[in-house]
Symmetry: C2
Subunit: 291 residues, 2 copies
Amino acid sequence: VTAQGEIAQTGSRARKSSAGYDLTRLYVGSEGTLGVITELTLKLYPLPEAVSAAVCFFPSIDAAVQTTIQIIQMGVPIARCELLDANTVRAVNLHDRLGLRESAMLLMEFHGSPASVAEQAATVQEIAREFGGEDFDWATTPEARSKLWTARHHAYLSALQTRPGCRCVTTDTCVPISRLAESINASVQEVEEAGIPYFIVGHVGDGNFHLGYLIDPARPAERETAERLSHQMVARALALEGTCTGEHGIGLHKQGFLVEEAGEAAVALMRTLKRALDPHDIMNPGKIFRI
Amino acid sequence: VTAQGEIAQTGSRARKSSAGYDLTRLYVGSEGTLGVITELTLKLYPLPEAVSAAVCFFPSIDAAVQTTIQIIQMGVPIARCELLDANTVRAVNLHDRLGLRESAMLLMEFHGSPASVAEQAATVQEIAREFGGEDFDWATTPEARSKLWTARHHAYLSALQTRPGCRCVTTDTCVPISRLAESINASVQEVEEAGIPYFIVGHVGDGNFHLGYLIDPARPAERETAERLSHQMVARALALEGTCTGEHGIGLHKQGFLVEEAGEAAVALMRTLKRALDPHDIMNPGKIFRI
């Protein structure tokens, strides 16, 4: 629904189209600033014949990330590859009594035919071993998989509970997969030096991770430090040709980062689009950039 | 480069981003009407460990298309799946002396590990047999694959030579994969009844195909018939929730189809974008829609 109250349908059910401008992708990610999406058509995929989930523990977060880089660069079609650092595992253990070993871990899922799933897993296990990864713990039933994913799904709330009353300053950088280790290692070093409690979860197969700074809201210096580290992390991601936000969007907090990342010319184009489609600035005003 | 001569960079090297509006996808497919793309960054994939190409001949075009639908709906990760109808095969045989059997055929490519490629091929062979498909002819060396793809790459020019002096009215509809057989069968029936020479090639794994009407430019009635059939084909594609153009774009010829497909409200949005980004209408004026 446009700012003028018109209803427009964008896209079709065809797998591809080149009929005019790609309005769908213009509106997706526009954070409600161009109009309101009231109806969605989703693309469905058949359930894979076989699904396996595995957990692998590593001696360090760097080892887990190096493994991920190799997996992706070899073209293994891994369906999910999530990183939890030791702090996160400790937090979910406390929260859900999962009894997981408290070191960096990758949570992986393989989809395909039974033979292809077995082959992917064998390849990944071999790569993991090269970086000191342990033998995989397997989950092949839906129930066992759900239990494993609990660790991932409860990570944020569990981490918050490790420091009662804290607030979380969350980051969302995404970098080319080849630069992910540099990006994470430098961020870990900085936060360790600053002495602020933190945790890391990452959709590392995409080069995307979230480092959460757990700050005490009664101590303004902690917030300042967290914001400074967050800015340093974004500057590094941009230097590595990545983005300040892989999936969370710009909103209010990252407006400065957007200009650093996209440049004035691109942000000017975005402003032009906003003014043209929403001349009275009634759609989620003030978000993404100031007009 | 914008209509104002500014240089904007859109996107990053990260696999995903949600930093502001998706300018990349707004410009891709805009047919030069919003600006000029002067530099591209491409995403590279590792070469697959194994690649196999196979040809399979079918008793009818319907059998080839039904096979394709099953392959896609089963989720077989086939890398390429191209259809050539008997007319096309006849044309490339004449042009390149390929000696192929002159019936509908699928040209398929499988990528992956050796085991996964073999498994995909076995699954697809089984599906093809259910619809009367013959045993696969295989090409595993790069040279043998190139020879097979010659048939596909020379299809258009070979078909033109089957009717000296002819012009081709080409179509480009794309429909949901489940509706592809209806879409192709009805189009074949109409053109056979009209008695105009034609050929069909299709990226059928996407639900996209091209039927070329080979008309004699000295006979205006043939062009009229071809345009009428082309319009009927688009109307049918839209009724099947598809698109009038899978990949060729709107240009001048399909402007009426765009309105039928996207609706007045969506085309009005596109016009607003065009006016905002190119107020003096200097970027490829007159294409996609009249402003």
